[in-house]
Amino acid sequence: MSEPEPVEPGRRFEAVVFGWSGTAVADPAEDAGRLRKLVEELCAHGLDLYLVTGARLPEVDGRLQARPVGPGRLYLCVDEGSEVHRVGVDGTRLVHRRTATPAEEAALDRAARVTVDALARRDVPAAVVPRLNRRAIDLAPGTEEPAAAVRKRLRASGRLSLYGIVELATDAALRAGLPDPRVTSDGRYVQIGLTDRADAARWVLDDLRRRGIAPRLVLFAGAAFGRIRGVPGADAPLLVPEASRSVAVSVGAEPAGVPAGVTVLGGGPARFLALLADQLERRRRGDVPDVDDTPDWTLTVDGLDPDLERVHETLLAIADGRLGTRGTPLLAHPATDPGVRAAGVYARTGADSELAGCPDWTTLPGTVSDPTLLRRRLDLRTGVLRQDGPVAALQFSSLARPATVVLRAEGPPGRLPGTDRYTLPGPFAAALSDLCRDGRLDRLGGYAPDEADARAARATAEELGFDRLLAEHRAAWAARWDAADVVVLDGDPELQLAIRFALFHMMASVADEGEAAVGARGLVGGGYRGHVFWDSDVFVLPFLAATHPAAARAMLEYRIRRLDAARAGALRRGNRGARFPWESAVDGFDVTPSFGRLPSGEIARIRTGEAEEHITADVAWAASCYLDWTGDTEFAEGPGRELVLETARYWASRIRLDSEGRGHIYGVIGPDEYHEPVDDNTFTNVMARWNLKRAAALDGAEGACWRRLADALVDGFDPMSRLYEQFAGFFDLEPLLIADVAPRRPIAAELLLGVPRTRASQVVKQPDVLMLHHLVPDEMAPDSLGANLDFYEPRTAHGSSLSPAVHASLLARAGRFRDALAALRIAARIDLDDISGSTASGLHVATMGGLWQALVFGFAGVRPRGDTLVVDPRIPPQWGGLQIRLRFRGKPFVLRIDHQSVELDAAGALALTRRDGHWEVHAP
């Protein structure tokens, strides 16, 4: 037999789904030794294989007898989609079975009996053979007549064609009460079943999805996709809509053609084995895996624009919670700004501290000679960056194994380094190994503060190898997305990509062990020096509390480990308790610069470190947010309790009572930094009040005093107007509406109007009073949102990138959808469009958190309330709805919300109840 032609489409696949009889073997009785060997070797090289057949397990496994060791997996999907078995060294293990109900079994019997009776009336002999979840009607009972002969006999008789028998059986099944019968035929048998190979295909694709393998990376191979005498071929059901982006090939003859999208290779099982051998060769020699390029999961940058390159490198960055790496081309170019940073690893101290640069693991010899050839794709679903150009490469920083880095590249001679193992010293050392042969490179490495630990991490990576590292990394990302994805139904594809972009970078920026210092610009740039602001506690943490609590806990651990520094900060000011710094880095002491150069050229005193104190209550709020979503009693009774009590003590010592017993907090800066310092900033006072009340519930001794102080604190509320005065004297300022004087919003109003005029006017930088409606709506007067939105929204310049998302959320709550969507769009595009002009230095991670909050708190109206989750949606008419994945009290679930209803999918772990005009998610 001549060698088969080269197999198209000529790339490495991550999974192969294939048929049995006619595809993998010509004759079920033939020796499958070569197939077995290929299957085992492919699994050893990390390929996942799924065999789909109508046969039963003993028939298939008894012939194949493969016993793969992995890391790739072998599944046998048998009995026409009714069972799935995973095959390992110890044999087979059932992992899925569709179990028929008694009513379904009875209906199958009825349908089969009716069909046989109808055939008997037409002189077509037939007998029923019961199978799992189906009844096989044997059209040649008691004989060894092959399928082709049966078809020929039926045609010659002129009584009834095979197609006619299938129709007859389908009708019988529907009349028997089966709502979705699967009727198939291989020519000899007509099977009436509850499942078919489409169910197997869906199970396979879902299994692959949970391990981070998208349909585009899957090859389907069969031999009978086309019709046979009018009846769909046995493999046709594999072509489910979910597989539309997969590659499908037929090794069969397919005389009647194939459905669109299937490539006919022909050649039968020999061709299929050649195809498997080709996949094995690609894995052995180290081909670079492809990535899925679905538009709503992929960020693509073509070429290299010297003006935008630094922005693109930020957008394309990859991170694993501990280590962040910019998406720089692997070859050098003068416009690039490569960088690797480690969370919490700073150079220098005080206001000069900044995230330290770490050794770079992504450089290859040579330069970018023709930028037009370069293409970079960041697959948000799996956290891998694929580069194509003179060198093709795939790189990732392992989410499953943080601070382990992996790069595989293919390139012409001279573009790849030689084989080597080396250590690069640094504040976070890198130990790397390059294995290079035949134009392919595998670079594996580990980072750690200590070189020995870095080398140990490298050794582990080398032992695991590329394919195993990739598989676990993909699976880790798949698990994160399963817990966190947000989909706008029938919405804007550009918005969908922006949402996933934001969620991806938030998930990548925060470790889930130890402590997580989340700087304002994440791990992928030097912007804001890696300093930690309220941005992290208030904007990023809630997303993680609701989707990946371990990461939220790590963020809180960062604060808890710095409680002593916070106590010292309070003491230094003559106060009690704990006062968190406005800007924080290594040691928890304030690192806010005292002076700064403003865009106007002035050197100005920076007072936020002295006076922006609301952060103390914000940290307590973050802790309570974590508790509301998780119910973590150990935290609540331990460090969480201490944190809430100490912050309350600070406020108690900070409040001044006047002669009438009213409580005041003087000389602060609220979120609106255009006005500084002020007295009785409403945001600070109400957050302090909330903090005191929360702590009072925990502590009897000081609790009574705290309650009195909380009740005494002024909050600027006027019952007549329903307005909150942002700070004492705010209403006396020039009533300037920035919406009327600014050429556009967002705008840095202090530059447009000048600092003195801005300070003397009612123009605000970002939500201040409105921020309370967003964070602690239950603390605010009922029905006061509308009045405060009407008042403050036109006064808000949005001079902070944190601002638009909060407005989007509140405008959605108020049902002002046009304005809400406009604000949402700004928030979604801040980095993608480099609106701030500073994305080159890092991502606006807090804005990303704000975007999620706008979608979940604002539009979906999801809020914890005690032991329940309230769902009170406001879905704009422009959207079909929202699908949100969350985790509440340890239970993962999916909410699907449209204009009429809310549906919950929690596998029975949670229940949904309609109550008082909204819904509640709660324990069953």
Partner: protein, 253 residues
Amino acid sequence: MTRVLAAIDNSLAASPVLAIARALAPLLDSDVEVLHLVENGDRMATQAALAAGLTLTSRRGPVIKSIIEAGRCADVAVLVVGARGTPAGPRPLGGTALAVATGLPKPIVVVPPDAHITGVIRRVLVPVEGAPAGTAPILDVVEDAELDMIVLHVYEEDSLPAFTDQPQHWQETWAREFVRRYCPWHTGPLRLETRVGRAEDLIPRVAEEVNADIIALGWTLDLGPGRAPTVRGVLDRSRRPVLLVPVAIGHPY
């Protein structure tokens, strides 16, 4: 050998013109030639040239046409002219200077009559609007010179940033990228100054603040109504010499 051609009138404004020409010459490795078109005598022109240690060439003929013709000679690297005859505050560019500047597609230095000239050009103010990167105008004229470059960006109303977040940090990150993106031509230390307001007001003011020896602007030779308002305003207001370097259409200023 190239020439710096200084075109002077018969007034006190001649001295600063000659001083700039002498300061530019070593940067360009050029000689200085002094040209005077005689209209009402040449005594002051002669004295200025003598005081500067330079030889005067006097001619008769239509002033503007003659200067432009002389400037068009291939070996003339830069033309230096006075802005106007007399000082006394911001005033429009004099007719001669205007006509010469718009009529000669070569680098031209326009020198105000009350310009403060140190005799050495060391510090250059380079206003940069923030457009696709080109070379700094001065570097189109002077190569490999060790100049103290100060880049000035003026936020005008239509270019005000959307967000300043924490300004002490935002300005730092924004500036780093601005320099990287729009000043790729700098090889040594470079200082960035930013201001908010109207560029034509602020450029001359900043030039005074930083004690710039010269302001370098790229321009398209078009000072028609509504065109190049910043160049026009700087020329009207500046008390420092202004080097105008022709650039392609679309260049800022």
